[in-house]
């Protein structure tokens, strides 16, 4: 197994951890932050798979804009999930 394969596996494991974390967390603000990290790992995966255009967009949109939008809304609706 080459080092790049290993990197891929580590990134995939991080993705799964992030998604499960989002499912289990009750704090919406924490969910938004974990989603941001998840998006950034996804961006690394795509850069690794030869898609720099997509990775660039995901870094700006997923890790940046979407997270800001979520946090803005959460600051107005409350951060506790029942």
């Amino acid at each position: 197994m080459s080092p790049t394969d290993l990197l891929d596996l580590v990134l995939l494991a991080l993705l799964l951890t992030g998604a499960i974390g989002i499912a289990m967390l009750k704090d919406l603000a924490a969910c938004a932050i974990v989603f941001s990290a998840y998006s950034f790992v996804m961006c690394l995966v795509w850069a690794h798979r030869g898609a720099p255009d997509v990775a660039m967009t995901e870094a700006a949109v997923g890790a940046g804009i979407t997270t800001v939008l979520f946090l803005t809304v959460i600051s107005r609706v409350g951060r506790r999930e029942k």
Binding site: D53, A60, L69, V73
Partner: protein, 237 residues
């Protein structure tokens, strides 16, 4: 309520487990990722890779596909995000406005964002106008531009950013992508006889593509900023 929620969870789990079977079975039938005989490398895609750089007019094949081979899809997509802003602004406009000020940020963050802002803008324009040779293009640069506008409105408060243009000018900026794309479609019809056709003369084609990318980028960035303003309840724009 608790019992109902537990039943719902069990049902959802059963449903997703039933969905997992076919999905896993399906992806295992596909050629392994990275193999050259995957469907994504056959037919039209192979053609793009082989001849895309000459016939698409861009060394970045993704840009060639977006602006040339799949221009109609991209046009639809530009319309979708513009419509999304229209809908968001309409829904947000009817709600109650909270005239809330920006949350005070640490002076370090404030200073760094103010100092970085112009560089991010330059980077966004670099990405947009070099979209045909380097990774990047209208959407990629547009989202960077939008992210910069949102970042600035987080630090300075939305009012100075939203107030940079009047509501009318913002609306025109957001429509830039749609308008420039529609204009290019008509220009293509006149010059080449096909809607969205790009002229084969390299210099003219390249400049037309850059104009198109600038339109998509500026429009996309303005739309994303507009979506943020709609969500954060900023009064103007």
């Amino acid at each position: 309520m608790n019992a109902r929620r537990r039943t719902a969870r069990i049902l959802a789990f059963a449903l997703l487990a039933a969905l997992a079977g076919p999905l896993i079975h399906g992806v295992l039938q596909l050629p392994a990722p990275g193999s050259a005989d995957a469907p994504a490398h056959a037919n039209v895609s192979a053609n793009y890779v082989e001849r895309g750089a000459e016939s698409g007019g861009a060394e970045n094949l993704v840009t060639g596909v977006l602006l040339n081979f799949r221009a109609l899809d991209t046009f639809g997509e530009v319309i979708v995000i513009f419509t999304a802003w229209l809908a968001a602004a309409a829904v947000a406009g009817t709600g109650s406005r909270s005239g809330r000020r920006a949350i005070p940020v640490s002076p370090v963050v404030d200073y760094v964002i103010r100092a970085l802002g112009p560089f991010i803008a330059v980077f966004a324009f670099f990405v947009i106008v070099n979209g045909h040779v380097l990774p990047g293009g209208g959407f990629q640069g547009g989202v960077v531009l939008g992210a910069m506008l949102i970042l600035l409105s987080l630090v300075l408060g939305p009012a100075p950013v939203a107030g940079a243009f009047s509501a009318r000018h913002w609306a025109w900026l957001r429509a830039t992508g749609v308008l420039v794309f529609a204009a290019t479609a008509v220009i293509g019809l006149v010059l080449t006889g096909h809607l969205f056709g790009l002229p084969s003369e390299p210099g003219l084609r390249k400049s037309l593509m850059i104009v198109l990318e600038l339109g998509i980028g500026v429009g996309g960035g303005a739309v994303l900023a507009g979506l943020f303003f709609a969500i954060s309840g900023t009064d103007r724009a």
